[in-house]
C-alpha cells in the first residue's frame, strides 16, 4: 500500500513557505538555489509511487511501524478522569520519533545523488537517528553538537560514533542546539554540491518545516485510525511536547480539520516562566527571525537570542517551528508550559505505574496530561505523544538524586 503524504491543494505553507506571517526563507543568497532544488525534489518524490513505496517499506521493516496506541489503564485510574492513550513512538527503532523523518530525508538524499549527510543535534536523538540511516545507506555522516550537550549526552555521542558518524563539537555561542544548527548551516553552505542537510525539526528555511512535518505526520495518521478502531471515535484532546515541535506537529496535523479535538502543545518552563530560565518561546517569547524562518523566539529587546534552560536537552531551543506559531495565533492549538520538576515527577510516575520509562522531553507532555485528565469526564479521551524512551536520560535523573550510575 502506498503511503499518501501529499497535502491537499491550498494547504499551508504557501509557495514561499509561509504559515500566515511565519516561516519563509531567511538565509544567505548562496542557499536560495539549493533550497529551491530541495523543494523541487521533495515535491517530485512526494508524488512518486516508487519513492513512497520504499519509504513505506522502510517505516515498516526498519523503523517498526505502526507504533501501538496504548491505553494507560492504571495511570488513567489513578488520575480519575479522561482515558489516556499513549502513542508509542518510544518503541521505534532508535527509541524516538526522530527516525520517521531521517528515514524520509535520507531516501530523498539518495535520490538526489548526495553522498554526504550532515545534521545538528541537541539531546542526540536526531543525531543518532541520522547516523543510523546514514550507516544503513552507506552515506558519510557528520553531526554537529554543542559542547555543553556533548558533555550531558555522552552515551548518544558514543552511539553516533559507533554508527560511523563524525561528531563535531560546537564551541561557539551558548554551545547548545542553536549553535549546532548554525554550524551545520555553515557546513552546508560550504559543501552544497555533495551534501544533504537533514534538519531534525519542523524549523529552518522552507521547505524544511513542511517536509519534516509531512514525514512526521504518520504519527497522527496512525493515531487517528487507531483510536477510531479502538474506541470508535475521535479523541477529545491531543497532548505533545514542543521544542522545535516535530513530534507535536506530527501528531497534530492529521487532526487539524477535526475541530472538536482540542490540541495542547507543551513547552519547557524550566525553573518556571517567571524565572526567565526556560525554553518556552510560544508562551513567553515574541516573533522574530532565526535559523531561516520567522517564528516565536526567546530574545532580548535588541533581538539577540537569549540562552534557554530545560532539564531536557531536546527542548532546550530558543525557537519553534513556524506552523506552531501560526496555530497559536489562529487559536487552533493551545500552548502551555511545564516545569523541570513537574516533568521529572511525570517521568517517575509513568515508570512506576505503567512500566514505561519516558524521555524527559515526552515527560513534559505527560505532566500536562496529568493536569488535564482530572478536569475531564471519564468517558473522554486524551492521546499523549510518547515521543521517545527515557533510557538516554537516566544519568540526568540519577544525578539529580545524587546517585552515580
Amino acid at each position: 500500500m502506498t503511503v499518501q503524504i501529499k497535502q491537499p491543494e491550498g494547504a499551508l505553507p504557501d509557495d514561499n513557505g509561509h504559515f500566515g506571517p511565519y516561516g519563509g526563507r531567511f538565509v544567505a543568497e548562496t542557499l536560495m538555489v539549493p533550497l529551491r532544488e530541495l523543494e523541487e525534489a521533495y515535491d517530485r518524490y512526494l508524488s512518486d509511487p516508487d519513492f513512497l513505496d520504499e519509504l513505506d517499506q522502510d517505516l515498516r521493516q526498519f523503523v517498526g511501524r505502526p507504533s501501538p496506541l496504548y491505553l494507560a489503564e492504571r495511570w488513567t485510574e489513578k488520575l480519575g478522569g479522561a482515558r489516556i492513550y499513549l502513542k508509542r513512538e518510544d518503541l521505534n527503532h532508535t527509541g524516538a520519533h526522530k527516525v520517521n523523518n531521517t528515514v524520509g530525508q535520507a531516501l530523498l538524499a539518495k535520490r538526489m545523488g548526495k553522498t554526504r549527510i550532515i545534521a545538528e543535534t541537541g539531546a542526540g536523538q536526531h543525531g543518532v537517528a541520522t547516523a543510523t540511516v546514514a550507516a544503513r545507506l552507506g552515506l558519510k555522516c557528520v553531526v554537529y553538537m554543542g559542547a555543553v550537550d556533548i558533555a550531558r549526552q555522552a552515551i548518544n555521542v558514543y552511539r553516533m560514533r559507533l554508527l560511523g558518524a563524525e561528531v563535531v563539537s560546537v564551541a561557539s555561542g551558548s554551545k547548545t542546539l542553536k549553535d549546532a544548527l548554525n554550524e551545520a548551516m555553515r557546513d552546508w553552505v560550504t559543501n552544497i554540491d555533495d551534501t544533504f542537510y537533514i534538519i531534525g525539526t519542523v524549523a529552518g528555511p522552507h521547505p524544511y518545516p513542511a517536509m519534516v512535518r509531512d514525514f512526521q505526520a504518520i504519527i497522527g495518521r496512525e493515531a487517528r485510525a487507531q483510536i477510531l478502531d479502538q474506541e470508535g471515535r475521535l479523541p477529545d484532546a491531543l497532548v505533545a511536547c514542543v521544542g522545535g515541535g516535530s513530534n507535536a506537529i506530527g501528531l497534530f496535523h492529521p487532526f487539524l480539520g477535526d475541530r472538536e479535538v482540542a490540541i495542547y502543545g507543551v513547552e519547557a518552563a524550566g525553573d518556571g516562566l517567571d524565572s526567565g530560565r526556560h525554553a518556552a518561546p510560544l508562551c513567553a517569547g515574541r516573533p522574530g527571525v532565526l535559523h531561516g524562518n520567522r517564528t516565536y523566539l526567546m530574545e532580548d529587546d535588541d533581538g539577540q537570542i537569549i540562552e534557554t534552560h530545560s532539564i531536557s536537552a531536546g527542548l532546550d531551543y530558543p525557537g519553534v517551528g513556524p506552523e506552531h506559531a501560526w496555530l497559536k495565533d489562529e487559536g487552533r492549538a493551545r500552548y502551555v508550559a511545564v516545569t523541570d520538576d513537574e516533568a521529572l515527577a511525570a517521568f517517575h510516575e509513568l515508570t512506576r505505574v505503567e512500566g514505561i520509562m519516558p524521555a524527559l522531553e515526552s515527560s513534559h507532555a505527560l505532566a500536562y496530561a496529568a493536569k488535564l485528565a482530572p478536569t475531564m469526564d471519564r468517558d473522554q479521551i486524551i492521546i499523549v505523544n510518547l515521543s521517545g524512551r527515557g533510557d538516554k536520560d537516566i544519568h540526568t535523573v540519577a544525578a539529580l538524586e545524587g546517585i552515580k550510575v
Partner: protein, 267 residues
C-alpha cells in the same frame, strides 16, 4: 542621489575601484570603532561596512563569529552601532557607511523605526545577509522611504532569474560573494569571479563589489581588475583579534593592510 552612488561615480571618473573594509562594530571594545573608521578612511577606504553584532551569525566563519561575541560581551547593540555612525558623521560627511548584519535586531527595533534612525545617524546602506528579496518587501519600503540603499548579496549559485530579481530591488551596489562558504574562507578563483561578474553585468548597471577570500594586496589587485569594489573583512578582523587590548596596534596593522591594498589597486 546618495553618498554611495556619488562615491562610485567619482571613482569611475578617476578610473579607480572602491576599497571597502569591514569591521564588526564594538570589536574588541566600543571605544575603538569610530577612531578606527576614520583611520581606515585615511588609509584609502572608500566605503565602510560596519558589522552589527548578532548572537547567531549563521553566515559567518569563526573569525567574524568571535568578533560578534567580543562586541556583544561589551554590550554593543544595534542602537549603539547607530550612535557610532552618528559620531563618525560629525567629522566625515562624505564616506558612505553600510551596516551589515542579520535581520533579527532590525525586526526587534521595527523596520520603520530602524530606517528612520539609520538615516538620521548617517547610514547610507543596509545589507541584511539573511534577507533575500523574496522576504524583503516591507524593509525595502522603509529603507527607500528614508533614502537608505538596500544592498544585496549575489552568490556563485545565483542563477539568471535570481540575478534579475535581486537587481530589480537593489540600489547602491551589489555584493558578490566569490565562493560557496562562510566569511573568512579561502580559495579565491579570479577567473570564475570574472565570468560571474560578466553574467551579473548583463542584468544591471549597478557597481558590483566582490568579497570573500580577499586577504592581501595581491588578491585585492586581482579582484580590482575585474570588479568595481573590493571588500575585505576577515583579514582585518583577524588583526583585531590578535591585538585585542592594544588599540594603537590594531589601528596600525589594519591601516597597513588597507594602504597596501590601496596602492596595489591604484598601481
Amino acid at each position: 542621489m546618495g553618498r554611495i552612488t556619488d562615491r562610485f561615480e567619482k571613482l569611475k571618473r578617476e578610473g579607480r575601484q572602491a576599497l571597502i573594509p569591514y569591521v564588526t562594530a564594538g570589536d574588541p571594545e566600543p571605544a575603538i570603532t569610530v577612531p578606527l573608521m576614520h583611520a581606515m578612511v585615511a588609509a584609502g577606504a572608500d566605503i565602510i561596512e560596519l558589522g552589527v553584532p548578532f548572537s547567531d551569525p549563521m553566515a559567518d566563519g569563526p573569525v567574524i563569529q568571535r568578533a560578534a561575541e567580543r562586541a556583544l560581551e561589551h554590550g554593543t547593540r544595534l542602537r549603539d552601532v547607530l550612535a557610532m555612525v552618528a559620531t563618525f558623521r560629525q567629522q566625515d560627511r562624505d564616506t558612505p557607511v553600510v551596516l551589515m548584519g542579520y535581520l533579527n535586531p532590525v525586526e526587534a527595533m521595527g523596520y520603520e523605526a530602524f530606517a528612520k534612525a539609520a538615516s538620521e545617524a548617517g547610514v547610507d546602506g543596509v545589507l541584511s545577509v539573511d534577507l533575500p528579496p523574496e522576504e524583503a518587501h516591507d524593509l525595502l519600503e522603509a529603507l527607500r522611504g528614508h533614502g537608505v540603499d538596500p544592498i544585496f548579496l549575489l552568490a556563485p549559485t545565483t542563477d539568471d532569474a535570481r540575478i534579475e530579481k535581486i537587481c530589480a530591488v537593489a540600489s547602491g551596489y551589489l555584493y558578490y560573494v566569490s565562493l560557496k562558504g562562510v566569511t573568512g574562507a579561502g580559495g579565491l578563483d579570479v577567473q570564475s569571479v570574472a565570468d560571474k561578474l560578466a553574467q551579473i553585468r548583463r542584468h544591471t548597471a549597478l557597481p558590483v563589489g566582490v568579497g570573500f577570500g580577499i586577504k592581501d594586496a595581491d588578491s585585492a589587485r586581482a579582484v580590482a581588475a575585474v570588479a568595481d569594489a573590493v571588500v575585505v573583512g576577515s583579514a582585518l578582523v583577524k588583526k583585531i583579534e590578535q591585538n585585542a587590548g592594544q588599540s594603537d596596534k590594531i589601528t596600525r596593522e589594519i591601516t597597513d593592510v588597507l594602504a597596501r591594498m590601496r596602492a596595489a589597486m591604484d598601481a
